[in-house]
């Protein structure tokens, strides 16, 4: 029992909003006529801290926005971009909507999974990389395309995906970030 309490305690410490995160959210809220409106960008800030949106800080966020914890949960479960469980440090999201499909996205996904030795949505053993499908990324003219976390890669052929996956295996920061 005591041990279990400790674990919960440790987890809630681990998933505490950092001072920087809190500060960023406080600044963000000021831009909106109603603080509730800030919830989507605020959750992106939370996700940037943990890599996903854990349940622990939802109450804290709700308090900051003057809404109920349930309101936060409703939003987190509705929008696709919020990971409710941990994903790879680098989450590779390959578009498989029509224009990418026509230019080989299914084969690209298969190829990537084989290379990585994982199944769809499964994180590689070292915790570095996971591959998922995603709906149209609004880059259909550069199909097939993908995102590594929030950064785009265009016209990705299987050989390039190999390179990307190899790079990500040892990367610390997202190498495809353009300011």
């Amino acid at each position: 029992m005591i041990e279990k309490m400790d674990k919960l305690e440790i987890r809630s410490q681990e998933y505490k909003l950092s001072e920087a995160t809190r500060q960023e959210i406080v600044e963000l809220v000021k831009k909106y006529p109603s603080s509730r409106s800030a919830i989507l960008p605020a959750l992106h800030i939370v996700q940037a801290q943990f890599g996903f949106v854990p349940v622990e800080p939802m109450a804290e966020l709700a308090e900051m926005l003057g809404i109920l914890k349930g309101d936060v949960e409703q939003v987190v479960t509705f929008y696709r971009m919020y990971n409710q469980n941990p994903v790879g440090k680098f989450h590779v999201k390959i578009c498989d909507s029509i224009s990418c499909y026509l230019r080989g996205s299914d084969e690209l996904i298969q190829h990537g999974l084989q290379r990585l030795g994982t199944r769809l949505n499964e994180v590689s053993g070292d915790g570095q990389v996971s591959i998922s499908k995603i709906e149209c990324l609004a880059a259909c003219g550069a199909a097939p395309c993908l995102q590594v976390n929030d950064e785009y890669m265009y016209n990705v052929q299987p050989e390039q995906l190999d390179e990307i996956l190899d790079t990500l295996k040892t990367a610390k920061e997202n190498p495809y970030y353009i300011p």
Binding site: K31, P41, H44, F78, C136, A138, C140, G141, A142, D150
Partner: protein, 451 residues
């Protein structure tokens, strides 16, 4: 060329020194550093705002009305008319720019915000002034993380130059522009769902009336326009309605960005005069079907518009709202998706319908359940497990979604199947009778168990 390489998403290759239409919306393609305020201003930027602020708000609305500018988000509603619906009441009013861009085949707003952010910000400011608003929101789909960074930088640059915030250009006009990020949901492109989302809720569409012009964001009068629509506004106000309405066709004025994708030699965004023909876009500029193949059919305006066959009559159709409607489809978001003659139409339709199933917001039953059935039955067909009568059954399920759903997403879900069945019925039947595909690399192979 050096400049072209820094543009994201990447543009199609230039075939000649000059673009097919002198860039207006895509001026950034020819001028390095266009996302910087200084460069934008050196090329006529914020001249439209300056002129606007010297006029009365009503005159601005009248000018945009006279220009003939119509919405680029899908329905083509006249922009000036939409603005004129805003009641003259005191208290807050809002402008929201729809940059949720998620309709498969559409990728123009993506290029506009990442490379030409000030054009949009100027458009938002002008719109705010015209309707008496001091607060503009640019709602970007969350995946546009870089576009959002670019826009935020641009807003701060504009603020430092006295173009955003209090007492803009010393005229007493106050206006804030907020860059907002969504979080992955196609439905938030539907205008009432966008407002719900911007209020911090799930993106469920609202019952109408009341319309946003009367009770929109926070139940206040609100204008919602697409990103490309608002990007046109600075040009209208800088050069005037008369200049703008010289471009285009009788009922669709100006220029727009056509998004060309799929099995085409040179995919990408093409800025052209409204009413350019499909033949010019697809064959002359796009290079026709890739790999020397033939075009089987194409989507003319984003995944929600009926598929067309490339007959001479269709290819010579001017791409404007009325022209495409006369061929039984829609201009929509101007996303043109090409299918070559080796495409299995059943597989393609399945992929299109899967999108609607994934993106159904779940608020109403016909769409939530119906899209799942559509996908299940099309899967069966695609896998060679279709049964006689399935085609009618799928049509039937489709007709129980369209017209019975709460919003247009439901109405759109059966569109790809219905339009494809009209053109390629024998291919669908072949999947049932032969348990195999008529065309493409899988022709003649038993389909069951392929996936």
């Amino acid at each position: 060329m050096a400049q072209q390489e820094q543009i994201f998403p990447p543009p199609p290759p230039l075939l000649t020194d000059k673009p097919p239409f002198e860039y207006q919306l895509l001026k950034h393609r020819g001028i390095p550093g266009f996302d910087k305020l200084e460069v934008y201003r050196a090329n006529g930027g914020y001249k439209g705002l300056e002129r606007t602020l010297s006029m009365q708000p009503d005159e601005v609305v009248a000018e945009v009305k006279a220009s003939g500018l119509r919405g680029r988000g899908g329905a083509g509603f006249p922009a000036g008319m939409k603005w004129s619906f805003i009641p003259k009441v005191s208290g807050p009013k809002y402008v929201t720019c729809n940059t949720d861009e998620s309709e498969p085949g559409t990728f123009k707003d993506h290029e506009l915000i990442e490379n030409n952010p000030h054009q949009l910000i100027e458009g938002v400011l002008i719109t705010c002034y015209a309707i008496g608003s001091e607060h503009g929101f640019i709602y970007c789909r969350g995946e546009f993380a870089r576009g959002i960074r670019v826009l935020k930088r641009a807003v701060e640059e504009a603020r430092a130059a006295g173009l955003v915030g209090k007492n803009i250009l010393g005229t007493g006009f106050n206006c804030e522009v907020v860059i907002h990020s969504g979080a992955g949901a196609y439905i938030c492109g539907e205008e009432s769902a966008l407002l719900e989302s911007l209020e911090g809720k799930r993106g469920y569409p609202r019952l109408r009336p009341p319309f946003p012009a009367v009770a929109g964001l926070y139940a206040r009068p609100t204008v919602i326009n697409n990103c490309e629509t608002l990007s046109n506004v600075p040009h209208v106000m800088r050069e005037g309605a008369e200049w703008y309405s010289k471009f285009g066709t009788e009922k669709t004025k100006g220029f727009r960005v056509y998004c060309l994708s799929g099995h085409v030699e040179r995919p990408g965004n093409y800025e052209l005069e409204c009413g350019t023909t499909f033949r010019t876009l697809i064959n002359e500029l796009g290079g026709g079907a890739w790999k020397g193949r033939k075009i089987k059919c194409f989507i003319p305006g984003g995944s929600s518009t009926p598929i067309l066959a490339p007959t001479d009559e269709v290819m010579d159709t001017p791409m404007d709202f009325e022209g495409i409607a006369a061929r039984g489809s829609m201009q929509g978001s101007a996303g043109v998706v090409i299918f070559d003659d080796q495409t299995c139409i059943v597989g393609a339709v399945l992929r299109l319908v899967e999108f609607y199933k994934e993106e159904s917001c779940g608020k109403c039953t016909p769409c939530r359940e119906g899209t799942q059935w559509l996908v299940q039955m099309l899967h069966r067909l695609e896998n060679g497990e279709g049964r006689p009568g399935d085609l009618e059954l799928i049509t039937d399920v489709g007709s129980n979604i369209a017209g019975k759903s709460f919003c247009l997403l439901g109405d759109s879900a059966p569109v790809p199947y219905n339009s494809a069945l009209k053109l390629f019925r024998e291919e669908f039947e072949y999947h049932i009778t032969h348990k195999t595909c008529m065309v493409g690399p899988r022709a003649g192979k038993q389909l069951a168990g392929v996936h």
